[in-house]
């Protein structure tokens, strides 16, 4: 019996050392990971995730504080890419996609003050002082920064209309037990 206790104890100690050594030697450098994660993100620093810009969100994701679905403009594509990079399974059920909202400017209300133009991180708004402003739909990421800046509330976020070209079959809904 003594032999059994001794051998198992020695084995446990040896394996413990091996694991500790591996944790040291094969540890992943978080700094490099943060840079890689940041490279995947949109880079607009819109702040919808609640972190200070894309670098902040990247650091949080690398540290494990934020989930991979934290970035709304990134959508499912970004979440999947991040999950693949981190080697984890992502729960994508809550992620909406295709930039569900786009800014639109009501031309009758716009006074041409240029405040929204200065705010837009992708320069998606065209216009000049005292000229009507308009949003270029392809460049708008739906970050929403412009909405608060407008003094006349001319800017609104509206859902992107679905066209026949971009319509996607929804996932079939079966009973929960066998979905």
């Amino acid at each position: 019996m003594i032999a059994a206790i001794l051998s198992i104890t020695l084995l446990g100690i040896a394996l413990g050392f091996a694991l500790g050594f591996a944790a040291q030697k094969f540890a992943v450098e978080t700094d490099a990971r943060v840079a890689e994660i940041e490279a995947l993100m949109p880079g607009t620093n819109c702040g919808q995730c609640g972190y200070p810009g894309c670098p902040g969100a990247a650091a949080a994701i690398a540290a494990g504080e934020a989930t991979v679905t934290v970035c709304p403009p990134g959508g499912k594509a970004l979440a999947t890419a991040l999950a693949a990079k981190l080697g984890i399974d992502a729960d994508l059920s809550g992620v909406s996609d295709e930039g569900p909202k786009i800014a639109t400017i009501a031309e009758e209300i716009c006074i041409g003050c240029c405040r929204c133009i200065k705010e837009c991180p992708t320069d998606a708004i065209v216009g000049a002082a005292k000229q009507i402003h308009a949003v270029m739909r392809e460049a708008c990421t739906g970050c929403g920064n412009c909405v608060d800046r407008c003094p006349t509330e001319a800017v609104k976020m509206e859902p992107v209309p679905v066209t026949l070209q971009h319509w996607v079959w929804p996932k079939p809904k079966l009973e929960p037990a066998w979905a």
Binding site: P42, G43, T44, N45, P73, G74, G75, K76, A77, L78, T80, A81, A84, L92, S93, D97, E98, G99, C120, P121, T122, D123, A124, E138, A139, T141, V162, T163, L164, H166, W167, V168, W169, P170, K171, P172, L174, E175, A177, W178, A179
Partner: protein, 509 residues
């Protein structure tokens, strides 16, 4: 072929799809009827793969039959012509024959009842297509708006050009019509065999191919006979029988059945020297080159248990499905309206959708005929594995898609899926497998688009940062320049003042 390979191929059953009940007769044996001209025709601008056509007519304009309504936008596009004479009543949206129920733009023509053909269609009536160079034939086919009439609606001129460039040697004509209920190609081959053969000869000339193989399923003996008789004088056109099995009409499977070769997964039939066209497309090419007529009408099979008088109807493009159903008569309210065949057709949201160039059939199914919508759990019977003509694992792919593991499904071969419906057809639990695959493919495409948007947004944000930095730099440079100028001016003033002072000092001295 290794030993393991040989053993596997002996033990694995050949993947050849399913054999659903035919249900083509008696509709296939009824002579073709022509739909009486409807009061209004709604001609969609997108009836083909590629960019939508751009309208060149205005509301209120009078048009004649065959007149160009919208021109092709780019190479992968097709022109759209007026199916009858009349006035352009509107250019707006109409419900698309698509399960989403979304709309798409269409030109509404209020017919004047005369059905007058326009003359002066580009190029005029051509007497001898064989004197024209192949590129000219393709150009005329494009001008006639001919697209693949088997249902895929790929612009035919583009396909002919592809065949010419790939230096194909065999033209394959798809007379399979493997879907149950449908018989428009069957009828066309029986009634217009000579025209089809003529179209085949023109297409041979347009592609430089030396042989044409016409594949007809063995459940169409009359069509076989008619086509064989029509092709008798042309030894380069061979009519062959293929076993009736679904999906024999799939391009790659028909090719394999006729030539015994297999198309590589990332390639096309042109890589192996063959080009596949539908027999209806051959007929349309004949019409375009010999009669000078653009594609403005087609044969549509009306079938299904809810119809009074099923059969094949000659329908102008743009006629509403409701008009055609009224013509053939409804015995009962259909439980399901389908455009196309039952295996791959689209369920229609209602009957007020237009007939388009790719409409091979309209089915009015009773509740008994239509598949039930009551799925159960997967019992892993692997009937779907045996039914899949491509050799995929539908049960595994759908399980992964169910948990949103789309990449896992792609690893199992999702991109090779042809959405034929064999798997869902045999599933005893009635799982909507094709629905899963359609969803996954669409979702992946949407994610790809989202990724492109992300990349573009990143570039725009970087460009903005650069712009701001540049403007700040220019501002600083301009400010520094102005400062230097002012300093220089001040120095000049000071020098001038000193000089003046010195001059006055000298004057007083």
């Amino acid at each position: 072929m290794g030993l393991i390979e040989k053993i596997f191929s002996l033990l694995e059953p050949a993947h050849w799809g399913v054999h659903p009940a035919d249900r083509k007769r008696p509709a296939a044996d009824v002579p073709v009827r022509t739909l009486p001209l409807p009061a209004r025709l709604y001609v969609p601008l997108q009836q083909h793969i590629g960019a939508a056509a751009r309208p060149i007519v205005l509301v209120g304009q009078t048009v004649l039959k065959g007149q160009l309504l919208a021109e092709a936008q780019g190479a992968t596009s097709a022109a759209v012509h007026a199916p009858t004479s009349g006035i352009v009543a509107a250019i707006g949206d109409i419900t698309a024959p698509h399960p989403s129920g979304l709309g798409f733009p269409a030109v509404t023509i209020e017919s004047d009842g005369d059905d007058r053909w326009a003359y002066g269609y580009e190029g005029g009536v051509c007497v001898d297509p064989f004197s024209l160079p192949p590129q000219e034939i393709a150009r005329r086919v494009a001008a006639a708006g001919v697209v693949g009439l088997g249902g895929a609606t790929f612009p035919s001129a583009l396909k002919l050009g592809l065949g010419l460039r790939a230096k194909i040697h065999t033209l394959i004509l798809n007379g399979g019509e493997c879907e149950p209920y449908l018989s428009c190609d069957d009828r066309l081959m029986r009634d217009c065999a000579a025209e089809i053969v003529d179209g085949i000869r023109i297409m041979l000339h347009a592609t430089g191919a030396t042989t044409a193989l016409v594949g007809i399923e063995d459940n169409k003996p009359e069509a076989m006979a008619a086509m064989t008789a029509a092709a008798r004088d042309f030894p380069d056109i061979q009519v062959r029988s293929v076993p009736a099995r679904y999906p024999m009409g799939s391009e790659k499977h028909l090719f394999s059945a006729l030539t015994g070769q297999e198309v590589p997964a990332d390639g096309r039939t042109t890589d192996l020297g063959a080009l596949v066209h539908n027999v209806g497309t051959a007929w349309a090419v004949h019409e375009a080159l010999r009669q000078g007529r653009p594609l403005v009408e087609r044969l549509v099979t009306l079938n299904g248990g809810a119809l009074e008088r099923p059969g094949n109807i000659r329908v102008p493009i743009g006629a509403l499905v409701a008009d055609v159903l009224a013509f053939v008569g409804l015995k009962t309210e259909p439980a399901r309206l389908v455009m196309g065949g039952p295996m791959m057709g689209n369920r229609l949201p209602h009957a007020r959708v237009p007939v388009v160039k790719g409409t091979s059939g309209i089915l009015a199914l009773t509740a008994l005929e239509a598949a039930s919508l009551d799925p159960g759990p997967c019992i892993r019977c692997s009937s779907c594995v045996r039914a899949c003509p491509v050799g995929l694992l539908p049960l595994e792919m759908s399980a992964r898609i169910g948990v949103d593991d789309l990449n896992g499904a792609v690893d199992l071969g999702l991109k090779d899926c042809i959405a034929c419906g064999c798997c869902s057809y045999v599933c005893p639990s009635r799982i909507p497998l094709v629905h899963y695959f359609n969803h996954a493919k669409g979702e992946l495409a949407a994610q790809g688009r989202a990724q492109l948007r992300n990349d573009a947004a990143k570039r725009l944000a970087a460009a903005r940062v650069e712009r701001l930095a540049r403007e700040a730099q220019e501002k600083a440079a301009a400010a520094a320049r102005r400062k230097a100028e002012r300093a220089a001016q001040k120095a000049a003033e000071k020098a001038a003042a000193e000089a003046a002072q010195q001059a006055s000092e000298e004057a007083t001295a």
